[in-house]
Symmetry: C2
Subunit: 402 residues, 2 copies
């Protein structure tokens, strides 16, 4: 039996995060909208143990999404309704939701058309499903706007090159790099004309802003519970229109060649049950709050715009991506801060150090020229605090404030 | 924007489990070894928020398994060592680990040889990967012992029928139905002779009993954190020998056709990062306890055997599967209890009612003739309490106690 020295085991005792929401302002670009609600914090302890959701699993279906105590089956319905779709499942990650859709709607060698600012996990999901990607271009600096009209050209190109339509068209609703919001309705119309299913990656939008899937012409909406629904990782959302759901959630047909065993209740692309514990429960516990908070989205956008206005007062500093901001994920370019880093003994880390001294964290340590931050859910006072900290640091090192 | 009525939202407030470890003895067959340690209960709150593991993600790799604060990279090493393997990853479920292995080691149309008591998720994982299953038979009532020597015949059959070797051979170390322990070493030898990789499904064994993967001849070991490692769902373990790991964890090769983007650091079968939050941390926090508890496995087996002895004293009641028990998952057949249910006004639910009155839960409500239970981690006093409860109920309804 292999042995692990006690010295090595000690490092797993008393695991702590360095930054708590109480003591720090955390601007981490992917963390803001995944902070648990107080309700979710209670629920995570209640359902922390292993298969905690399975106390009342009904043997007939023996499927997580059919469990009514806790109200998981009910939640699947409410989740679909909330997104303006027909059927919903919670899977292990947004990327798994994309993979499942690619796998079930495409065959190896098929093509998926994607925006060229799609997250890496869109590409790896296509790769694992054996699909090729055809990218829709984006524009140049400083907007980097995806050319949505080009979706039609790209579908045409796929038709010409492969003699068939793309298996799926994917649009990233808000991208991870610039936080640009794309007009899903425009792409929905194009997809409808060609009869190609539209998968909307709403990882940065569903859960923080109002989403009406069918109205936008989406056939599938995927999202991330830990990114945008005040839930623990790993949780992904897969919501679909009825007809697509029949394909994506196809029941198992495999038969044991000796035993004759069958598993006809199981949705095999999900591998049966998915998130059978705490993270699903946090998603459910935060859901009433999420339903309410999306109505206040415009206030969140206003705070982001305020911060951009303030940061752009710093010499040589500008927001990249479409203006004005339509999302709280912000990409900043700063020649000014970068200039300081060139002569500072801590190089680019000076910005991290200075911010941390002011109890502000979440911007990648070492970055000055390009960095991302997110203001979602911060009070206006905290956002002002962040703006002042940046201006103070800039002034300290001799940059002008406009 | 679709609306959810407040009435419906109320059901997500104050989510509670019906049974707590403090107030009930829970015999649920899949829950016993997934009960969190006190250390994991502290850690789950600390790391409850969304992407809580990502505070110190290093931009070069940008991969969960490379994060050193909290000590995730270190844990990957210790986990591999603990299982007697070279490389380990934490994925979202044991079934996902099987799927990843099938997908990366097989091509659609290939065959995987599996024992005929394999869990349904083994079949759905093969189905999603496009693999056929060839089952190794099991023996008859009452032992249902898998015929391990038949692995060789089945590999031969695959060779004959498909002109190639199976992509993978899978053995379920302990099955979910009878809790039979299979001799992995015997299958390891056969696989070595044929040069076929052996995947050992240790969902019911790793984390509760000592496992030395290489010694048993396993190329891949998969397990379930929420089933057997005192961790929250969903957590799966994928541990491999070095050479197999190179194939299974192949790096992404996909290239954006317009952007030229590449993602060469990403292990694409994992879709990049996997369990980027609380459940992974519970697995790590419980690890020192798990390392210690596997040494006490024989005590756990003794308690299971004691309970079987006591239950078999009840008229018309016997343990199915191999005897004596080598695992704490127990399958009971009781003609006696079933006879009572035939005339009881609550039918089969009488057993559930009677047990629950005695603060014992976890046996599927409605079952009497065949039911499963698990004694893992219960004190001897509690196991005695369970034995006495069963005998008391049996006597109350006129069954003889031997």
């Amino acid at each position: 039996m292999p042995k692990i020295p006690n010295e090595r085991l000690k490092r797993y005792l008393g695991l702590k995060r360095d930054f708590s929401e109480e003591r720090y302002i955390n601007l981490h670009p992917i963390q803001r909208a995944g902070v648990l609600t107080p309700e979710a914090r209670k629920a995570i302890l209640e359902f922390g143990d292993g298969y905690s959701t399975c106390d009342w699993c009904q043997p007939k279906a023996a499927r997580l999404d059919a469990i009514e105590r806790p109200p998981i089956a009910q939640f699947m319905e409410d989740l679909a309704t909330f997104l303006g779709m027909d059927v919903a499942r919670v899977v292990t990650r947004c990327r798994e939701a994309k993979f499942i859709a690619f796998m079930m709607l495409g065959k190896p060698g098929d093509t998926v058309v994607v925006d060229s600012l799609a997250h890496y996990s869109t590409y790896t999901a296509a790769e694992l499903a054996g699909l090729n990607v055809k990218e829709v271009p984006h524009g140049d600096y400083p907007e980097f706007k995806v050319d949505l009209n080009a979706y039609a050209n790209k579908i045409e190109e796929v038709k010409k090159e492969t003699k068939k339509l793309p298996a799926v068209v994917l649009l990233t609703h808000v991208d991870y790099l610039y936080g640009n919001l794309n007009d899903a309705t425009a792409v929905g119309k194009i997809c409808k004309e060609y009869g190609v299913p539209l998968l909307l990656n709403a990882a940065y939008t569903a859960g923080v802003m109002p989403i009406d899937g069918k109205k936008m012409g989406a056939d599938i909406i995927v999202s991330s519970g830990h990114k945008s629904w005040a839930a623990s990782a790993p949780t992904g959302i897969l919501a679909m229109k009825k007809d697509i759901a029949d394909d994506v959630l196809e029941r198992s047909k495999i038969v044991g060649d000796w035993s004759g065993r069958k598993f006809a209740a199981k949705e095999y692309a999900l591998l049966g049950c998915t998130v059978m514990g705490a993270p699903l429960i946090t998603l459910m516990a935060s859901f009433p709050h999420v339903v309410e908070r999306v109505e206040r989205w415009q206030e969140e956008v206003e705070k982001a715009r305020y911060l951009v206005d303030q940061l752009e007062r710093i010499e040589g500093t500008r927001q990249l991506g479409i203006k004005p901001k339509q999302h709280t994920l912000i990409h900043i370019e700063s020649d000014g801060l970068h200039k300081i880093s060139e002569t500072h003994k801590r190089r680019g880390f000076f910005l991290y150090d200075e911010l941390r001294e002011r109890k502000i964290v979440g911007i990648q340590a070492g970055l000055t020229k390009h960095f991302k931050l997110n203001t979602y859910g911060l009070s206006l006072d905290k956002v002002k605090n962040v703006a002042n900290a940046f201006k103070e640091i800039a002034e300290k090192y001799g940059l002008k404030i406009g």
